[in-house]
């Protein structure tokens, strides 16, 4: 039987978006943990990277996965007033808005990048956010950068 290459296998299967998530150490990561320990089901499309603060996510770390072909990037931090570093979450929100605006100029839908406030007690909100994001990314279809090698 012919051995399928990695990319052919991917096309053969139904499209499952791949999401890179940057979760803040103090709130959102704990929220994701709570979703797990509470046995709340959510789609397994997410790859979590724990960061100390959503405010520490440089645009570079959002752009790299998008150019590499990730279908979505989620950045989640603490709610208003809860930031462990006073206001990193608010600054992250501005930075994400900036990256989205730039990418929209180049035809990458803003909806590939999500920014959320998720607290440590909001396991259900985390699961729900991932679910909604996966649904939206399925509507958008695969990121065309997956096949682009000249980046």
């Amino acid at each position: 039987m012919k051995q399928l290459s990695v990319s052919e296998k991917r096309v053969a299967q139904e499209f499952e978006p791949k999401i890179i998530a940057f979760l803040c150490n103090w709130c959102s990561y704990v929220g994701a943990d709570l979703a797990g320990t509470s046995r709340i089901q959510y789609p397994p499309n997410i790859r979590v990277i724990r960061v100390m603060c959503s405010g520490s996510v440089d645009p570079l770390y959002i752009l790299k996965p998008i150019l590499e072909g990730a279908d979505g990037v989620l950045i989640a931090g603490c709610h208003s007033g809860d930031c462990h570093y006073l206001n990193g979450n608010y600054k992250a929100r501005r930075r994400v808005a900036m990256v989205k605006t730039m990418l929209e100029q180049f035809g990458i839908p803003g909806d590939r990048i999500w920014f959320s406030f998720i607290s440590a007690s909001e396991g259900r909100v985390f699961a729900d956010t991932v679910r909604r994001m996966v649904t939206r990314l399925k509507e958008l279809g695969p990121n065309s950068m997956k096949a682009q090698w000249e980046i």
Binding site: L63, K91, F106, I108, K146
Partner: protein, 371 residues
């Protein structure tokens, strides 16, 4: 807002001599201890920034010559990043003043030991074009021709960044030296009122104005603004997806000249030249396996997009990036076209005022609707 008094300098022998006496006056009367001013080099083939301490060594000041090799804002940052312990008069073009203001807000420059002296600018030449011209005529003749064009308000062949620049004179300076709309034997000097007495004593200014100046400047502003809007819109409409951007930037050799020339891109060690991009051999193999092939050197588009995010909100459209690019990438269009959209989110105009806070260092409790 300061009140501004307007004066004229009568030129005796020629403009260069008059400016020399004017600048020497500033130094001799201790209004400034040192002066950062462009001067013609001894070869007569270039105009470079010089930091002058000895007034007698100020021989050929040339703030008009259509060449900027390094942004004056970068030089200002080098001079004031730590306290220079002296007052420095700094002669800058409008885009350099804007960049200097951004650098102050970014914590990379300090204007308290500085007397900002602005000059009129309708644009400069690409360094390659300047070199060709200067080999034929010499720097002095080229600057004199340029001055004549400047007085009449008509210049030709300026860099693409300058073609879309509507700020021909900065109002964020203490002293402004104007040529647009002046007569052949005069130079306009606008001075903030607090400085008037000292400056008059030092330099022999006489009261006066240039009658056609304001109408020429506003005509220019309108024209350039129109060109800017058209050009940026056309670019935004034509380069509207990543494959088109990739095609446009296909010849990028990732030399990093654009970031070295950029006055705003101040990091001493760029993330793209540090350990983060010093990848393991196995990483390249993995990436090539996943996509089938990858371009080497990798990450050229990532570099430009990241730079857009890092400096976009403060980009003053000076076009130093494009002048420094060895393959002539249209950076002076890419950056303003995207920066305009980024700056619009935060309603921010870079370089306008020290009082406007950098958009990424501030926030509002409720804005931008989280998801």
């Amino acid at each position: 807002m300061y009140t501004i008094a307007s004066f004229l300098l009568r030129t005796q022998a020629n403009v260069r001599e008059t400016l020399k006496e004017f600048f020497r006056g500033l130094m001799k009367k201790d209004i400034v201890d040192l002066l950062l001013v462009p001067q013609e080099t001894s070869s007569g083939r270039s105009v470079v920034y010089t930091l002058v301490k000895d007034p007698n060594k100020l021989l050929s000041p040339d703030p008009v010559g259509p060449l900027v090799l390094v942004s004056g804002a970068t030089v200002l940052s080098n001079l004031t990043f730590r306290d220079p312990g002296a007052v420095i008069g700094v002669v800058l073009r409008p885009c350099e003043v804007r960049a200097a203001i951004e650098l102050v807000k970014l914590g990379q420059a300090n204007l308290s030991p500085v007397l900002l002296i602005g000059v009129d600018c309708l644009g400069t030449l690409d360094p390659r074009v300047y070199r060709e011209e200067v080999m034929q005529t010499g720097a002095r003749a080229l600057s004199e021709q340029w001055l004549t064009s400047l007085r009449s308000g008509l210049v030709k062949g300026v860099r693409s960044a300058c073609q879309i620049c509507s700020e021909v004179a900065s109002d964020a300076v203490s002293v402004h030296i104007g040529f647009i709309g002046t007569g052949p034997n005069e130079i306009l000097v606008e001075v903030k009122n607090s400085l008037v007495e000292r400056l008059r004593e030092a330099t022999g200014l006489v009261e006066g104005t240039a009658s056609e100046r304001s109408s020429l400047i506003s005509w220019h502003k309108e024209e350039r603004q129109k060109v800017r809007e058209e050009k940026l819109l056309a670019w935004q409409q034509s380069i509207d997806d990543l494959p088109r951007l990739i095609a446009e930037f296909a010849t990028c050799l990732k030399c990093g000249n654009c970031r070295k020339a950029c006055p705003i891109c101040y990091c001493k060690e760029c993330v793209f030249e540090g350990r983060i991009f010093d990848h393991q051999s196995s990483s390249y193999v993995n990436w090539a396996t996943r996509k089938g092939l990858i371009k080497m050197p990798a990450d050229t588009i990532l570099f430009h997009l990241t730079r857009l995010c890092h400096v976009g909100y403060s980009c003053v459209s000076c076009g130093m990036c494009e002048s420094a690019c060895p393959v002539g990438l249209p950076l002076a269009t890419l950056f303003p076209a995207v920066a305009e959209k980024i700056q619009a989110i935060f309603n921010y105009v870079p370089g306008r005022s020290l009082d406007e806070v950098l958009p990424l260092t501030t926030f509002k409790e409720e804005e931008l609707e989280p998801r």
